[in-house]
Symmetry: D2
Subunit: 332 residues, 4 copies
Amino acid sequence: MLIVMDHAATAAQIAAVNESVEKMGLRPEAIPGSQRTAIGVLGNQGYIDDSAIRNLAGVREVIHVSKPYKLVSRDFHPDSTIVKVGKVELGGDLPVVMMAGPCSVESEAQMLASACIVKQAGADILRGGAFKPRTGPHSFQGLGVEGLKLLRQAGDEVGMPVVTEVMRIGQLDDVCRYADLIQIGARNMQNFDLLKEVGKLKFPVLLKRGMSATIEEFLAAAEYILAEGNGQVILCERGIRTFETATRNTLDLTVVPLVQQMSHLPIIVDPSHATGRRDLVPIMAKAAVVSGAQGLMIEVHNDPAQALCDGAQSLDGAGFTQLMLDLRQLKF
Amino acid sequence: MLIVMDHAATAAQIAAVNESVEKMGLRPEAIPGSQRTAIGVLGNQGYIDDSAIRNLAGVREVIHVSKPYKLVSRDFHPDSTIVKVGKVELGGDLPVVMMAGPCSVESEAQMLASACIVKQAGADILRGGAFKPRTGPHSFQGLGVEGLKLLRQAGDEVGMPVVTEVMRIGQLDDVCRYADLIQIGARNMQNFDLLKEVGKLKFPVLLKRGMSATIEEFLAAAEYILAEGNGQVILCERGIRTFETATRNTLDLTVVPLVQQMSHLPIIVDPSHATGRRDLVPIMAKAAVVSGAQGLMIEVHNDPAQALCDGAQSLDGAGFTQLMLDLRQLKF
Amino acid sequence: MLIVMDHAATAAQIAAVNESVEKMGLRPEAIPGSQRTAIGVLGNQGYIDDSAIRNLAGVREVIHVSKPYKLVSRDFHPDSTIVKVGKVELGGDLPVVMMAGPCSVESEAQMLASACIVKQAGADILRGGAFKPRTGPHSFQGLGVEGLKLLRQAGDEVGMPVVTEVMRIGQLDDVCRYADLIQIGARNMQNFDLLKEVGKLKFPVLLKRGMSATIEEFLAAAEYILAEGNGQVILCERGIRTFETATRNTLDLTVVPLVQQMSHLPIIVDPSHATGRRDLVPIMAKAAVVSGAQGLMIEVHNDPAQALCDGAQSLDGAGFTQLMLDLRQLKF
Amino acid sequence: MLIVMDHAATAAQIAAVNESVEKMGLRPEAIPGSQRTAIGVLGNQGYIDDSAIRNLAGVREVIHVSKPYKLVSRDFHPDSTIVKVGKVELGGDLPVVMMAGPCSVESEAQMLASACIVKQAGADILRGGAFKPRTGPHSFQGLGVEGLKLLRQAGDEVGMPVVTEVMRIGQLDDVCRYADLIQIGARNMQNFDLLKEVGKLKFPVLLKRGMSATIEEFLAAAEYILAEGNGQVILCERGIRTFETATRNTLDLTVVPLVQQMSHLPIIVDPSHATGRRDLVPIMAKAAVVSGAQGLMIEVHNDPAQALCDGAQSLDGAGFTQLMLDLRQLKF
């Protein structure tokens, strides 16, 4: 931590800051400059809470050098983490893992038809939502545990591991019974209680980036899970909120190589939620793979026009099959 | 809902859209223009899920006229709602209600000292956090139920109702036992399960705006609570996330008169979290009152330099007392 | 400047950084930490261009301590600047200065009628646009020099100094002939050539914040003007671009006290452009004054329903007169 | 245009709106709904200025169906535009065009060395800045006309057309004398006077997206150029401003396929300015090509560590040569 003093800070103010630093068990070291004094803070083992210092008299700015995460950092864990979902492995230089399926589980027939489509096209993991977060209370909210069973059944039928979202701690037992990979949605990225609970499990987790989360906050959220002992975490970029309204969100692909530099955890991309438009999904899926994504999550529905949720961003069977062919052609 | 067709949309494409609208039990009505056709959708009683239509061939854009909320709307409920917290009433043209206290409950002594300060200065409701959402897992996480008891005890001692944040459904019983007003934090604004549960209670709720929530999403979140039968909701603006980094968040005061036009629910402002800086809190508190805020929430600590959480944005006793005096002088 | 090295940076990498710093004529000083080394850079007289260092091997981050402005900083110029526009003075603790008038000069009759309204209500400076920046090329673009003459004529008629926007260097001669205060619009805040030219004049300047400019960039833009010798600069907050679409922009009132801490230049607020809605202008104008604004700029039109530009955000005579009365009642 | 009335709008209010619409020479058509009335506006040939209507009593919202551009729209001009720069053609399904060179022209030796590098690696167009927009006034501002000459000389030496930025109208003559393609930078995207002037030329133009410009505003800016008669416009995505600070800007690749749907103009990507980091440029360049970019603009310097400007984001010779090889391998 670096504490930058005002141009006109007095010796007494500098002494008071030094004292506060020492009270925290740390060591202040003055860095005199031609225009102002700065105070380096030494001796910490990680991120420091600066609230006792930030507003002391004469302090102009507090600059953090340590980050609010450490276990997820590649700095301290150079080897890439491989996450295992059923028999599927994801991470490092392994081939891109395809997760695909409908937004919501709607019925046995729909789930099975969708599963057959994605399996036949070559997907690795089946997705399907049983508990749905919806912006307004009057929309379809998911089938609940019944949906979990239908998802599991469809996965078993076609021989694929399954991923589904958990929205609250009370659903964890059910989700772990029926799924192979637990998804934490963007709206829950900073639901710290939920993060801690999944951190106590021996179960792989897919953590989606919050729609206005910085990369630092995204990694700090993953840190909550690792701090409890669960290192099987996959990160997922799904678009951020900006002033642009022509797409549902703004897909931030630069985050992929950046996170791979900063962290040993794998990162995948969800172009369906990022763009919100079926016609943009295939091209952005390819761009995501070229940017280094270690997996993709794609919404596929056997009959998008009848989908109860997010039909506008779902590919149909033909569209997804074509995308899989195109991805196999990709050489980069 | 209005469906705008492409300039070159064919008659068959228009017919297909009409058919889809009718399948949803609604009535399409063509609005031919000089450059393109639009289709008005009539017969709905509220917001329509457009996902079956948005990506049909020939559709250029779908424009919503209805909003994803109705119960919170002033359009359908012209009279302002008054929320009752203990003996304190808030809303409509009632005097501004002051909520104040420390970010976290840290100890019996700290809580009582802070309560005495805010009571003496004239605050109406005592705040204090027992369950704390923190960005990184290595920061102080709150005292839990023990903190709730200390908060209640301090409130009783000085004769003030108390408000505290609930972070998950499992904490609701405890929070309702010890508090008079339940706070849903910004990170949980779209934790829909939690919203539904508090909607089932007969208990006043303080709902904070998510840091990247639009006004429409904010009101739709409140709709979740009202839809379950609980109309005692206070909204709270606490700053939004923008590109600006000089303050913790960007305080959006225009939301105050705008929400009051759109909704009958009261709205208060939290300048402490919005600015993140003690020196900016008093002036923005006054600006908030002038913009029409029906209440304020201010962080006050008996010894901010020693606070375990958010000390940099907490006022001390002298600062808060001065603010209360200044607010009484305010004539507008 | 502080250079933070990777956890695993080698001694050779650190040496290479030190060498680069020395090549720039500066002095590196190592700050060894328990987890990594940082290098303080000493000897600079202001902001350092870090591009030769930022991407050297082993460098994790470069942190700036100095800011890209100095002349506008209160740190080096503690006394508040007073700007003189005709006989009107603005800044420091002087009374709030009201600038008002139509978005565009449309005709002699409209300009004179509007001038009479604002004069009678008590405004200090008359505004009117002769050169208009419009998003699309098919909208009304302003009357040009003819508009400048009508503005001047109306100002003389009612005895008020006038302010108008300049959009390019070639217009400066004309604008200086007819106006008393030159406005640089938000879209030109980083038109550095224009800033330098007005910096060479002895003429007061009103600089509007760019719609996505940080406070640091805003002050750095003003620095361009002061660096050429012109210190008569008024800053103007007019809303920033965020994800919120319910208002035209998001009015950032916290910038007012913050800029007053950081700089000696005065700052005013334009609630008309910030909100884009006539019904929100008066309340936000009052909030701006309470937040410390040293002036306001308000759009007023004698017949808003017939305005060629921005009628939706213009007050009429009755509305502006009421606002002036309300502002006189304001006690804070 | 669609005018949505309040739930409780009176017949008189609806009549007043109808009258205003008719005064504008347009035809109102009522669309009665179960909850409220909407009024469709027919008869317009393009975008309507709504300011006379938006704030009439009883109006809740005005929704635009037409866009503030038409000439750039693919709706009215289905064939892709090919832009010719010297002998290089760009657009439609033509091979990706590579523009490369240093941020600034610094000296004859630097410019020639850089030109040789990019030519040998296979680039098509040479870039180099003679007039530089810099955030602070104390940074290197470019060599001016002398820089233009050195750029031209280097281009001629290696046989490449050249592109350079124009910052103001007064520089247009010089830039047209020495360059083959005029660049309008992001900060000038809404410098409408400049856009109109280049619209009057018979000269190809590279228009960069403003850092907080929506796609609609970006296309409306291009409309200014086309409206004056110049159809040789290349669009360029170079990153937008968001809350994320880990990269210089947020690269929005989805804009590439989206603009290609909406407009016939070609679009290229500048990953150097978007990311601000040399190590991220190659991977994002590849992702841009896969997303459909019809060209790339890459900063290359013969000795980035000594660059006077943006060295941190410049590739050196080896880096750029490798990127060109990688791009040739790309199959998608």
